[in-house]
Protein backbone atom coordinates (compact mmCIF):
# COMPACT_ATOMS: atom_id res chain seq x y z
CA UNK A 1 0.00 0.00 0.00
CA UNK A 2 2.65 2.45 1.00
CA UNK A 3 4.80 1.33 -1.90
CA UNK A 4 2.00 2.14 -4.36
CA UNK A 5 1.64 5.70 -3.20
CA UNK A 6 5.39 6.10 -3.33
CA UNK A 7 5.45 4.99 -6.94
CA UNK A 8 2.65 7.34 -7.88
CA UNK A 9 4.37 10.25 -6.23
CA UNK A 10 7.59 9.62 -8.07
CA UNK A 11 6.11 9.12 -11.53
CA UNK A 12 7.24 11.85 -13.89
CA UNK A 13 4.67 14.52 -14.61
CA UNK A 14 2.98 14.11 -17.98
CA UNK A 15 4.93 15.88 -20.71
CA UNK A 16 3.72 19.35 -21.52
CA UNK A 17 2.50 20.01 -25.07
CA UNK A 18 5.40 21.17 -27.20
CA UNK A 19 7.75 19.15 -25.02
CA UNK A 20 7.47 16.18 -27.38
CA UNK A 21 10.84 14.48 -27.60
CA UNK A 22 12.41 14.42 -31.06
CA UNK A 23 12.83 10.67 -31.25
CA UNK A 24 10.20 8.96 -29.11
CA UNK A 25 11.21 5.47 -30.10
CA UNK A 26 14.81 5.99 -29.13
CA UNK A 27 13.79 7.53 -25.86
CA UNK A 28 11.52 4.59 -25.13
CA UNK A 29 14.30 2.15 -25.78
CA UNK A 30 16.54 4.17 -23.46
CA UNK A 31 13.94 3.98 -20.76
CA UNK A 32 13.72 0.21 -21.08
CA UNK A 33 17.48 -0.06 -20.73
CA UNK A 34 17.41 2.15 -17.64
CA UNK A 35 14.64 0.03 -16.09
CA UNK A 36 16.42 -3.21 -16.88
CA UNK A 37 19.63 -1.87 -15.31
CA UNK A 38 17.75 -0.77 -12.18
CA UNK A 39 16.13 -4.19 -11.74
CA UNK A 40 19.38 -5.99 -12.44
CA UNK A 41 21.36 -3.95 -9.91
CA UNK A 42 18.69 -4.45 -7.25
CA UNK A 43 18.83 -8.17 -7.92
CA UNK A 44 22.62 -8.23 -7.63
CA UNK A 45 22.46 -6.35 -4.32
CA UNK A 46 19.90 -8.78 -2.93
CA UNK A 47 21.66 -11.81 -4.30
CA UNK A 48 23.73 -12.63 -1.18
CA UNK A 49 20.51 -12.89 0.84
CA UNK A 50 18.89 -15.12 -1.77
CA UNK A 51 22.01 -17.24 -1.89
CA UNK A 52 22.08 -18.03 1.83
CA UNK A 53 18.33 -18.72 1.68
CA UNK A 54 19.08 -21.26 -1.05
CA UNK A 55 22.00 -22.77 0.88
CA UNK A 56 19.75 -23.26 3.89
CA UNK A 57 17.76 -25.85 1.91
CA UNK A 58 20.75 -27.84 0.70
CA UNK A 59 22.77 -30.67 2.13
CA UNK A 60 26.36 -30.09 3.16
CA UNK A 61 27.49 -32.51 0.51
CA UNK A 62 26.00 -30.52 -2.37
CA UNK A 63 27.12 -27.18 -0.87
CA UNK A 64 30.70 -28.38 -0.98
CA UNK A 65 30.79 -30.48 -4.10
CA UNK A 66 28.10 -29.12 -6.43
CA UNK A 67 27.81 -25.44 -5.53
CA UNK A 68 25.24 -24.66 -8.22
CA UNK A 69 23.11 -27.76 -7.98
CA UNK A 70 19.42 -27.20 -7.35
CA UNK A 71 18.45 -30.80 -6.71
CA UNK A 72 18.23 -32.62 -3.38
CA UNK A 73 16.65 -29.69 -1.56
CA UNK A 74 15.81 -30.47 2.05
CA UNK A 75 14.33 -28.89 5.15
CA UNK A 76 16.50 -31.01 7.45
CA UNK A 77 18.74 -28.00 8.13
CA UNK A 78 15.86 -26.16 9.77
CA UNK A 79 15.05 -29.10 12.00
CA UNK A 80 18.71 -29.25 12.96
CA UNK A 81 18.87 -25.48 13.59
CA UNK A 82 15.75 -25.43 15.75
CA UNK A 83 17.12 -28.31 17.79
CA UNK A 84 20.53 -26.72 18.34
CA UNK A 85 19.62 -23.08 18.82
CA UNK A 86 17.81 -21.61 21.70
CA UNK A 87 16.09 -19.05 19.51
CA UNK A 88 13.44 -18.29 22.10
CA UNK A 89 16.03 -17.35 24.72
CA UNK A 90 17.88 -15.13 22.23
CA UNK A 91 14.71 -13.36 21.19
CA UNK A 92 13.44 -12.99 24.75
CA UNK A 93 16.69 -11.44 25.95
CA UNK A 94 17.00 -9.05 23.03
CA UNK A 95 13.37 -8.02 23.36
CA UNK A 96 13.70 -7.31 27.09
CA UNK A 97 16.84 -5.27 26.48
CA UNK A 98 15.25 -3.32 23.65
CA UNK A 99 11.99 -2.54 25.44
CA UNK A 100 13.53 -1.58 28.77
CA UNK A 101 16.47 0.45 27.51
CA UNK A 102 14.57 2.26 24.76
CA UNK A 103 11.65 3.14 27.06
CA UNK A 104 13.81 4.42 29.91
CA UNK A 105 16.17 6.12 27.45
CA UNK A 106 13.38 8.01 25.72
CA UNK A 107 11.61 9.04 28.94
CA UNK A 108 14.73 10.48 30.54
CA UNK A 109 15.93 12.04 27.26
CA UNK A 110 12.57 13.72 26.85
CA UNK A 111 12.59 15.05 30.42
CA UNK A 112 16.09 16.41 29.97
CA UNK A 113 15.33 17.89 26.54
CA UNK A 114 12.19 19.53 27.97
CA UNK A 115 14.16 21.04 30.83
CA UNK A 116 16.84 22.24 28.42
CA UNK A 117 14.47 24.02 26.06
CA UNK A 118 11.09 24.81 27.63
CA UNK A 119 12.02 25.92 31.11
CA UNK A 120 12.32 29.63 31.77
CA UNK A 121 14.04 30.98 34.86
CA UNK A 122 13.48 34.17 36.77
CA UNK A 123 17.07 35.16 36.12
CA UNK A 124 16.33 34.85 32.42
CA UNK A 125 19.71 33.32 31.63
CA UNK A 126 19.84 30.37 29.30
CA UNK A 127 23.54 29.86 29.75
CA UNK A 128 23.32 26.77 31.97
CA UNK A 129 20.82 25.19 29.62
CA UNK A 130 22.96 25.79 26.54
CA UNK A 131 26.11 24.54 28.23
CA UNK A 132 24.39 21.36 29.40
CA UNK A 133 22.90 20.77 25.97
CA UNK A 134 26.36 21.06 24.46
CA UNK A 135 27.69 18.68 27.10
CA UNK A 136 25.12 16.07 26.01
CA UNK A 137 25.83 16.58 22.32
CA UNK A 138 29.59 15.98 22.66
CA UNK A 139 28.62 12.33 23.16
CA UNK A 140 27.78 12.16 19.44
CA UNK A 141 31.52 12.14 18.70
CA UNK A 142 32.33 9.22 21.00
CA UNK A 143 32.90 5.81 19.35
CA UNK A 144 31.38 3.11 21.58
CA UNK A 145 34.52 0.99 21.33
CA UNK A 146 36.34 3.46 23.57
CA UNK A 147 33.74 2.72 26.26
CA UNK A 148 33.88 -1.08 26.22
CA UNK A 149 36.56 -1.75 28.80
CA UNK A 150 35.67 1.08 31.22
CA UNK A 151 32.01 0.03 31.11
CA UNK A 152 33.01 -3.57 31.77
CA UNK A 153 34.86 -2.38 34.90
CA UNK A 154 31.92 -0.20 35.92
CA UNK A 155 29.49 -3.11 35.61
CA UNK A 156 31.73 -5.23 37.81
CA UNK A 157 32.12 -2.43 40.37
CA UNK A 158 28.35 -1.88 40.55
CA UNK A 159 27.69 -5.63 40.71
CA UNK A 160 25.67 -5.50 37.51
CA UNK A 161 27.78 -7.96 35.54
CA UNK A 162 25.64 -10.95 34.64
CA UNK A 163 22.37 -9.01 34.71
CA UNK A 164 20.36 -7.27 32.00
CA UNK A 165 21.35 -3.93 33.50
CA UNK A 166 24.97 -4.55 32.50
CA UNK A 167 23.78 -3.78 28.97
CA UNK A 168 20.74 -1.60 29.63
CA UNK A 169 22.70 1.25 31.22
CA UNK A 170 25.31 1.64 28.45
CA UNK A 171 22.58 1.28 25.79
CA UNK A 172 20.68 4.14 27.40
CA UNK A 173 23.83 6.26 27.70
CA UNK A 174 24.80 5.72 24.07
CA UNK A 175 21.38 6.73 22.74
CA UNK A 176 21.02 9.84 24.92
CA UNK A 177 23.07 12.27 22.77
CA UNK A 178 21.14 11.73 19.55
CA UNK A 179 17.79 11.60 21.39
CA UNK A 180 18.56 14.96 22.95
CA UNK A 181 19.79 16.44 19.66
CA UNK A 182 16.57 15.59 17.87
CA UNK A 183 14.20 16.30 20.78
CA UNK A 184 15.69 19.70 21.64
CA UNK A 185 15.59 20.62 17.95
CA UNK A 186 11.85 19.98 17.80
CA UNK A 187 11.05 21.28 21.29
CA UNK A 188 12.61 24.64 20.49
CA UNK A 189 10.04 25.15 17.75
CA UNK A 190 7.15 24.26 20.03
CA UNK A 191 4.45 26.96 19.67
CA UNK A 192 4.44 29.20 22.75
CA UNK A 193 0.73 29.99 22.40
CA UNK A 194 -0.22 26.44 23.32
CA UNK A 195 2.04 26.60 26.34
CA UNK A 196 0.63 29.94 27.44
CA UNK A 197 -2.90 28.68 27.10
CA UNK A 198 -2.04 25.68 29.25
CA UNK A 199 -0.51 27.92 31.91
CA UNK A 200 -3.72 30.01 31.95
CA UNK A 201 -5.62 26.78 32.54
CA UNK A 202 -3.41 26.22 35.55
CA UNK A 203 -1.29 23.39 34.21
CA UNK A 204 1.61 22.44 36.42
CA UNK A 205 5.04 21.41 35.24
CA UNK A 206 4.28 17.71 35.08
CA UNK A 207 1.01 18.18 33.19
CA UNK A 208 2.72 20.61 30.85
CA UNK A 209 5.47 18.15 30.04
CA UNK A 210 3.33 15.04 29.56
CA UNK A 211 -0.20 16.17 28.72
CA UNK A 212 0.43 19.32 26.69
CA UNK A 213 3.82 19.13 25.00
CA UNK A 214 4.48 15.38 24.75
CA UNK A 215 1.48 14.49 22.56
CA UNK A 216 2.79 16.87 19.90
CA UNK A 217 6.23 15.28 20.08
CA UNK A 218 4.92 11.80 19.34
CA UNK A 219 6.18 11.61 15.73
CA UNK A 220 9.75 12.49 16.81
CA UNK A 221 9.59 10.08 19.73
CA UNK A 222 8.32 7.32 17.40
CA UNK A 223 11.19 7.97 14.98
CA UNK A 224 13.70 7.79 17.82
CA UNK A 225 12.07 4.65 19.21
CA UNK A 226 12.52 2.86 15.88
CA UNK A 227 16.11 4.01 15.55
CA UNK A 228 16.96 2.99 19.12
CA UNK A 229 15.28 -0.41 18.87
CA UNK A 230 17.26 -1.19 15.71
CA UNK A 231 20.42 -0.11 17.49
CA UNK A 232 19.82 -2.36 20.49
CA UNK A 233 18.60 -5.24 18.34
CA UNK A 234 21.76 -5.28 16.21
CA UNK A 235 24.22 -4.24 18.91
CA UNK A 236 27.23 -6.49 19.20
CA UNK A 237 30.36 -4.93 20.79
CA UNK A 238 28.80 -4.35 24.24
CA UNK A 239 26.99 -7.68 24.12
CA UNK A 240 30.13 -9.69 23.37
CA UNK A 241 32.04 -7.82 26.09
CA UNK A 242 29.48 -7.79 28.88
CA UNK A 243 27.70 -11.15 28.58
CA UNK A 244 29.26 -14.43 29.56
CA UNK A 245 26.11 -16.17 30.73
CA UNK A 246 24.51 -18.29 27.94
CA UNK A 247 21.12 -17.55 29.46
CA UNK A 248 21.58 -13.87 28.61
CA UNK A 249 22.69 -14.37 25.01
CA UNK A 250 21.27 -11.82 22.59
CA UNK A 251 20.45 -12.37 18.93
CA UNK A 252 23.68 -10.75 17.70
CA UNK A 253 25.79 -12.62 20.20
CA UNK A 254 24.10 -15.89 19.23
CA UNK A 255 24.86 -15.24 15.56
CA UNK A 256 28.52 -14.65 16.35
CA UNK A 257 28.67 -18.13 17.88
CA UNK A 258 27.18 -19.95 14.89
CA UNK A 259 30.56 -20.79 13.42
CA UNK A 260 31.68 -22.35 16.68
CA UNK A 261 28.41 -24.18 17.25
CA UNK A 262 27.96 -25.61 13.77
CA UNK A 263 31.59 -25.95 12.68
CA UNK A 264 31.24 -27.31 9.13
CA UNK A 265 27.49 -27.92 9.21
CA UNK A 266 26.99 -25.08 6.72
CA UNK A 267 23.40 -25.90 5.85
CA UNK A 268 22.26 -25.69 9.45
CA UNK A 269 24.29 -22.51 9.94
CA UNK A 270 22.51 -20.88 7.02
CA UNK A 271 19.14 -22.12 8.24
CA UNK A 272 19.85 -20.43 11.57
CA UNK A 273 20.88 -17.24 9.77
CA UNK A 274 17.60 -17.29 7.84
CA UNK A 275 15.64 -17.85 11.06
CA UNK A 276 17.24 -14.72 12.52
CA UNK A 277 16.95 -12.73 9.32
CA UNK A 278 13.35 -13.47 8.37
CA UNK A 279 11.52 -11.84 11.31
CA UNK A 280 13.72 -8.79 10.98
CA UNK A 281 13.04 -8.46 7.25
CA UNK A 282 9.31 -9.08 7.79
CA UNK A 283 9.12 -6.23 10.30
CA UNK A 284 11.10 -4.05 7.93
CA UNK A 285 8.71 -4.89 5.08
CA UNK A 286 5.75 -3.86 7.24
CA UNK A 287 7.25 -0.58 8.47
CA UNK A 288 9.79 0.25 5.77
CA UNK A 289 8.78 3.92 5.49
CA UNK A 290 9.12 4.55 9.22
CA UNK A 291 12.31 2.50 9.47
CA UNK A 292 14.00 4.37 6.62
CA UNK A 293 12.83 7.69 8.06
CA UNK A 294 14.14 6.73 11.50
CA UNK A 295 17.54 5.57 10.31
CA UNK A 296 18.12 8.64 8.16
CA UNK A 297 16.73 11.09 10.75
CA UNK A 298 19.20 13.86 11.28
CA UNK A 299 20.73 13.49 7.83
CA UNK A 300 17.48 14.04 5.95
CA UNK A 301 15.18 16.83 6.96
Amino acid sequence: MSIDSEVKMSLPSPPAPGDTPPAPRRRRRGRIIVSATAYLITFVILFPLLWIALLSFRTNDTILNHPFSLTHLTTANYAQALQTLNLLVMYRNTLILAVVSVTIGLVISYLAAFALTRMVFRSGRRRTQNTLRFYFLTGLAVPVYVLLFPVYRLDITFGLFGTYFALILPYIAVTIPFNILLLTGFLRDFPEEIEQAAVMDGAGLWRMAWKVVFPLMRPVVATLAILNVIYVWNEFPFAVTLINDPGLTTVSLGVSQFQGVYSVDYGAMMASAVLVLLPQLAIYAAFQKQVIAGMTAGAVR
Partner: protein, 291 residues
Protein backbone atom coordinates in the same frame (compact mmCIF):
# COMPACT_ATOMS: atom_id res chain seq x y z
CA UNK B 1 6.93 33.78 27.92
CA UNK B 2 7.02 34.17 31.68
CA UNK B 3 6.54 30.68 32.79
CA UNK B 4 8.93 30.39 35.65
CA UNK B 5 10.39 27.20 36.96
CA UNK B 6 12.44 26.46 39.99
CA UNK B 7 15.97 25.20 39.85
CA UNK B 8 14.92 22.19 41.87
CA UNK B 9 12.47 21.09 39.20
CA UNK B 10 15.04 21.66 36.51
CA UNK B 11 17.59 19.58 38.40
CA UNK B 12 15.11 16.75 38.99
CA UNK B 13 14.12 16.59 35.34
CA UNK B 14 17.62 16.61 33.98
CA UNK B 15 19.25 14.43 36.63
CA UNK B 16 18.44 10.91 35.33
CA UNK B 17 19.80 11.55 31.84
CA UNK B 18 22.71 13.56 33.18
CA UNK B 19 23.80 10.87 35.64
CA UNK B 20 23.56 7.89 33.30
CA UNK B 21 25.23 9.82 30.48
CA UNK B 22 28.05 11.10 32.69
CA UNK B 23 28.74 7.77 34.37
CA UNK B 24 28.52 5.57 31.28
CA UNK B 25 29.89 7.87 28.61
CA UNK B 26 31.99 10.75 29.91
CA UNK B 27 33.61 8.99 32.85
CA UNK B 28 34.72 6.03 30.65
CA UNK B 29 36.53 8.39 28.30
CA UNK B 30 38.45 9.97 31.17
CA UNK B 31 39.11 6.48 32.54
CA UNK B 32 40.55 5.33 29.18
CA UNK B 33 42.69 8.42 28.95
CA UNK B 34 44.06 7.93 32.46
CA UNK B 35 44.80 4.22 32.09
CA UNK B 36 46.48 4.76 28.72
CA UNK B 37 49.35 6.23 30.74
CA UNK B 38 49.66 3.14 32.97
CA UNK B 39 50.70 -0.47 32.55
CA UNK B 40 47.48 -1.65 34.17
CA UNK B 41 46.91 -5.38 33.71
CA UNK B 42 43.75 -5.72 35.74
CA UNK B 43 45.46 -6.98 38.90
CA UNK B 44 48.16 -4.63 40.13
CA UNK B 45 46.45 -1.34 40.81
CA UNK B 46 48.68 1.10 39.00
CA UNK B 47 52.08 1.51 37.54
CA UNK B 48 52.40 4.87 35.97
CA UNK B 49 54.08 4.34 32.63
CA UNK B 50 54.09 7.80 31.14
CA UNK B 51 54.09 7.66 27.36
CA UNK B 52 55.40 4.08 27.20
CA UNK B 53 52.17 2.72 25.67
CA UNK B 54 52.22 5.35 22.95
CA UNK B 55 55.90 4.64 22.24
CA UNK B 56 55.07 0.93 22.00
CA UNK B 57 52.34 1.80 19.52
CA UNK B 58 54.74 3.69 17.26
CA UNK B 59 56.85 0.54 16.98
CA UNK B 60 53.97 -1.90 16.68
CA UNK B 61 53.67 -3.10 13.07
CA UNK B 62 50.25 -4.59 13.71
CA UNK B 63 48.99 -1.18 14.82
CA UNK B 64 50.20 0.47 11.61
CA UNK B 65 48.66 -2.35 9.57
CA UNK B 66 45.34 -1.74 11.33
CA UNK B 67 45.65 1.98 10.53
CA UNK B 68 46.34 1.17 6.89
CA UNK B 69 43.37 -1.21 6.72
CA UNK B 70 41.03 1.37 8.21
CA UNK B 71 42.42 3.72 5.55
CA UNK B 72 41.60 1.16 2.83
CA UNK B 73 38.03 0.82 4.07
CA UNK B 74 37.78 4.61 4.23
CA UNK B 75 39.11 4.89 0.67
CA UNK B 76 36.55 2.39 -0.63
CA UNK B 77 33.81 4.25 1.21
CA UNK B 78 34.81 7.65 -0.15
CA UNK B 79 35.67 6.73 -3.72
CA UNK B 80 33.27 3.85 -4.42
CA UNK B 81 30.42 3.91 -1.90
CA UNK B 82 29.57 7.61 -2.25
CA UNK B 83 29.72 7.85 -6.09
CA UNK B 84 27.89 4.54 -6.55
CA UNK B 85 25.29 5.50 -3.95
CA UNK B 86 24.71 8.75 -5.79
CA UNK B 87 24.43 7.10 -9.21
CA UNK B 88 22.04 4.54 -7.78
CA UNK B 89 19.92 7.34 -6.32
CA UNK B 90 19.70 8.89 -9.79
CA UNK B 91 18.94 5.52 -11.38
CA UNK B 92 16.26 4.58 -8.84
CA UNK B 93 15.02 8.14 -8.59
CA UNK B 94 11.58 7.72 -10.05
CA UNK B 95 11.48 7.07 -13.79
CA UNK B 96 11.65 3.31 -13.33
CA UNK B 97 8.41 1.53 -12.64
CA UNK B 98 8.29 0.31 -9.05
CA UNK B 99 11.34 2.34 -8.07
CA UNK B 100 9.93 2.94 -4.58
CA UNK B 101 9.95 -0.80 -3.97
CA UNK B 102 13.43 -1.12 -5.47
CA UNK B 103 14.75 1.57 -3.14
CA UNK B 104 13.19 -0.18 -0.15
CA UNK B 105 14.82 -3.47 -1.22
CA UNK B 106 18.25 -1.92 -1.72
CA UNK B 107 17.96 -0.38 1.77
CA UNK B 108 17.31 -3.77 3.39
CA UNK B 109 20.97 -4.70 4.11
CA UNK B 110 21.29 -1.58 6.27
CA UNK B 111 18.90 -2.98 8.88
CA UNK B 112 20.65 -6.35 9.21
CA UNK B 113 22.96 -6.75 12.20
CA UNK B 114 26.55 -6.25 10.97
CA UNK B 115 27.60 -9.50 12.66
CA UNK B 116 25.03 -11.37 10.53
CA UNK B 117 26.18 -9.51 7.40
CA UNK B 118 29.68 -10.81 8.09
CA UNK B 119 28.41 -14.38 8.47
CA UNK B 120 26.42 -14.14 5.22
CA UNK B 121 29.41 -12.89 3.26
CA UNK B 122 31.62 -15.76 4.43
CA UNK B 123 29.51 -17.92 2.14
CA UNK B 124 30.32 -15.67 -0.80
CA UNK B 125 33.94 -14.79 -0.15
CA UNK B 126 35.47 -17.82 1.54
CA UNK B 127 38.15 -19.22 -0.80
CA UNK B 128 36.92 -22.80 -0.37
CA UNK B 129 33.18 -22.73 0.20
CA UNK B 130 32.40 -19.26 -1.16
CA UNK B 131 30.20 -18.56 -4.16
CA UNK B 132 32.59 -16.13 -5.83
CA UNK B 133 35.38 -18.64 -6.31
CA UNK B 134 32.93 -21.40 -7.21
CA UNK B 135 31.65 -19.10 -9.92
CA UNK B 136 35.19 -18.31 -11.13
CA UNK B 137 35.89 -22.02 -11.31
CA UNK B 138 32.65 -22.65 -13.21
CA UNK B 139 33.49 -20.10 -15.89
CA UNK B 140 36.97 -21.49 -16.21
CA UNK B 141 39.13 -19.02 -14.29
CA UNK B 142 41.89 -21.08 -12.70
CA UNK B 143 42.87 -18.57 -9.98
CA UNK B 144 41.47 -18.94 -6.49
CA UNK B 145 41.93 -15.52 -4.91
CA UNK B 146 41.90 -15.53 -1.11
CA UNK B 147 39.28 -12.84 -0.72
CA UNK B 148 39.27 -13.40 3.00
CA UNK B 149 41.78 -15.19 5.15
CA UNK B 150 44.72 -14.44 2.88
CA UNK B 151 47.46 -11.92 3.53
CA UNK B 152 46.45 -9.12 1.13
CA UNK B 153 42.85 -8.97 -0.06
CA UNK B 154 40.94 -9.10 3.25
CA UNK B 155 40.76 -5.34 3.99
CA UNK B 156 39.46 -4.69 0.48
CA UNK B 157 36.86 -7.44 0.90
CA UNK B 158 35.82 -5.90 4.23
CA UNK B 159 35.51 -2.52 2.53
CA UNK B 160 33.32 -3.99 -0.21
CA UNK B 161 31.03 -5.75 2.26
CA UNK B 162 30.73 -2.44 4.12
CA UNK B 163 29.80 -0.84 0.79
CA UNK B 164 27.14 -3.50 0.23
CA UNK B 165 25.59 -2.83 3.61
CA UNK B 166 25.64 0.98 3.40
CA UNK B 167 24.75 1.67 -0.23
CA UNK B 168 20.99 1.75 0.33
CA UNK B 169 21.47 4.16 3.22
CA UNK B 170 23.64 6.49 1.12
CA UNK B 171 21.18 6.19 -1.76
CA UNK B 172 18.31 7.25 0.49
CA UNK B 173 20.06 10.44 1.63
CA UNK B 174 20.97 11.40 -1.94
CA UNK B 175 17.45 10.59 -3.07
CA UNK B 176 16.01 12.94 -0.45
CA UNK B 177 18.45 15.62 -1.65
CA UNK B 178 17.53 15.10 -5.29
CA UNK B 179 13.84 15.46 -4.53
CA UNK B 180 14.41 18.82 -2.87
CA UNK B 181 15.98 20.29 -6.00
CA UNK B 182 13.65 22.74 -7.71
CA UNK B 183 11.90 21.06 -10.63
CA UNK B 184 11.86 24.07 -12.92
CA UNK B 185 15.66 24.19 -13.25
CA UNK B 186 15.64 20.68 -14.66
CA UNK B 187 12.72 21.38 -16.95
CA UNK B 188 14.25 24.62 -18.24
CA UNK B 189 17.57 22.94 -18.92
CA UNK B 190 16.01 20.06 -20.81
CA UNK B 191 14.04 22.59 -22.93
CA UNK B 192 17.39 24.21 -23.65
CA UNK B 193 18.58 20.86 -24.96
CA UNK B 194 20.81 19.77 -22.07
CA UNK B 195 21.51 16.05 -22.09
CA UNK B 196 20.86 13.92 -19.03
CA UNK B 197 24.60 13.74 -18.41
CA UNK B 198 25.01 17.51 -18.67
CA UNK B 199 22.15 18.01 -16.22
CA UNK B 200 23.80 15.64 -13.80
CA UNK B 201 27.24 17.16 -14.14
CA UNK B 202 26.36 20.86 -14.22
CA UNK B 203 23.10 21.12 -12.29
CA UNK B 204 22.36 18.25 -9.93
CA UNK B 205 25.82 17.52 -8.55
CA UNK B 206 26.70 21.19 -7.86
CA UNK B 207 23.31 21.81 -6.27
CA UNK B 208 23.70 18.77 -4.02
CA UNK B 209 26.97 20.00 -2.53
CA UNK B 210 25.49 20.14 0.95
CA UNK B 211 24.11 16.60 0.66
CA UNK B 212 27.50 15.31 -0.47
CA UNK B 213 28.97 16.94 2.63
CA UNK B 214 26.45 15.25 4.94
CA UNK B 215 27.01 11.85 3.32
CA UNK B 216 30.79 12.23 3.57
CA UNK B 217 30.55 13.10 7.27
CA UNK B 218 28.29 10.09 7.95
CA UNK B 219 30.49 7.71 5.98
CA UNK B 220 33.69 8.91 7.69
CA UNK B 221 32.23 8.36 11.17
CA UNK B 222 30.75 5.05 9.98
CA UNK B 223 34.09 3.65 8.81
CA UNK B 224 35.57 4.04 12.29
CA UNK B 225 32.75 1.86 13.64
CA UNK B 226 33.48 -1.14 11.40
CA UNK B 227 34.15 -4.00 13.79
CA UNK B 228 31.69 -6.86 13.43
CA UNK B 229 32.59 -7.42 9.77
CA UNK B 230 36.22 -8.03 10.72
CA UNK B 231 35.18 -10.12 13.72
CA UNK B 232 33.02 -12.41 11.57
CA UNK B 233 34.93 -12.47 8.27
CA UNK B 234 38.56 -12.87 9.31
CA UNK B 235 38.87 -12.41 13.07
CA UNK B 236 41.62 -9.94 12.19
CA UNK B 237 43.87 -12.69 10.91
CA UNK B 238 46.09 -14.06 9.61
CA UNK B 239 48.56 -12.61 12.15
CA UNK B 240 46.60 -9.33 12.44
CA UNK B 241 46.98 -8.54 8.74
CA UNK B 242 43.27 -7.76 8.29
CA UNK B 243 42.75 -5.97 11.60
CA UNK B 244 41.15 -2.51 11.59
CA UNK B 245 41.93 0.00 14.35
CA UNK B 246 38.90 -0.87 16.45
CA UNK B 247 39.28 -4.64 16.16
CA UNK B 248 42.97 -4.44 17.02
CA UNK B 249 42.17 -2.34 20.08
CA UNK B 250 39.59 -4.97 21.08
CA UNK B 251 42.12 -7.77 20.63
CA UNK B 252 44.81 -6.07 22.73
CA UNK B 253 42.37 -5.13 25.48
CA UNK B 254 40.27 -8.26 25.84
CA UNK B 255 42.31 -11.10 24.35
CA UNK B 256 45.83 -10.24 25.47
CA UNK B 257 44.57 -8.20 28.46
CA UNK B 258 47.16 -5.46 28.09
CA UNK B 259 44.67 -2.95 29.42
CA UNK B 260 47.05 0.01 29.52
CA UNK B 261 48.12 -0.47 25.92
CA UNK B 262 44.53 -1.22 24.89
CA UNK B 263 43.34 2.05 26.39
CA UNK B 264 46.11 3.92 24.56
CA UNK B 265 44.83 2.37 21.32
CA UNK B 266 41.28 3.37 22.30
CA UNK B 267 42.41 6.94 22.82
CA UNK B 268 44.05 6.94 19.39
CA UNK B 269 40.89 5.50 17.78
CA UNK B 270 38.93 8.31 19.39
CA UNK B 271 41.39 11.04 18.37
CA UNK B 272 41.89 9.82 14.78
CA UNK B 273 38.14 9.42 14.32
CA UNK B 274 37.47 12.86 15.75
CA UNK B 275 40.19 14.44 13.56
CA UNK B 276 38.77 12.78 10.43
CA UNK B 277 35.29 14.05 11.29
CA UNK B 278 36.63 17.53 12.03
CA UNK B 279 38.49 17.56 8.70
CA UNK B 280 35.27 16.60 6.88
CA UNK B 281 33.38 19.30 8.74
CA UNK B 282 35.95 21.98 7.90
CA UNK B 283 36.10 20.79 4.29
CA UNK B 284 32.34 21.10 4.04
CA UNK B 285 32.40 24.62 5.44
CA UNK B 286 35.19 25.70 3.14
CA UNK B 287 33.37 24.39 0.08
CA UNK B 288 30.23 26.13 1.20
CA UNK B 289 32.04 29.47 1.45
CA UNK B 290 33.78 29.08 -1.90
CA UNK B 291 30.42 29.09 -3.60
Amino acid sequence: MNWLTTRRHFALMIAPALIIYSVYMIYPILYSLYYSFTDFDGVSANGFAGLANYRQMAQDDAFWTSMRNTGIVLGIALFLLIPLGFLLAVLLGGRVKGSGALRALVFAPAIIAPILVGLIWIFLLDPKIGLVNAFLLAIGVPAHPQWIGGPTLSPYAIGLVYLWQQIGFVLTIFYAGLRMLPRDVMEASSLDGASRWQQLRHIQIPMLRETFGIVTALVVTGVFKVFELVYALTGGGPVHLSEVMVSYMYHITFTTQQYGYGMALAVVVFVVGALASAATFLGNRRKGEAR
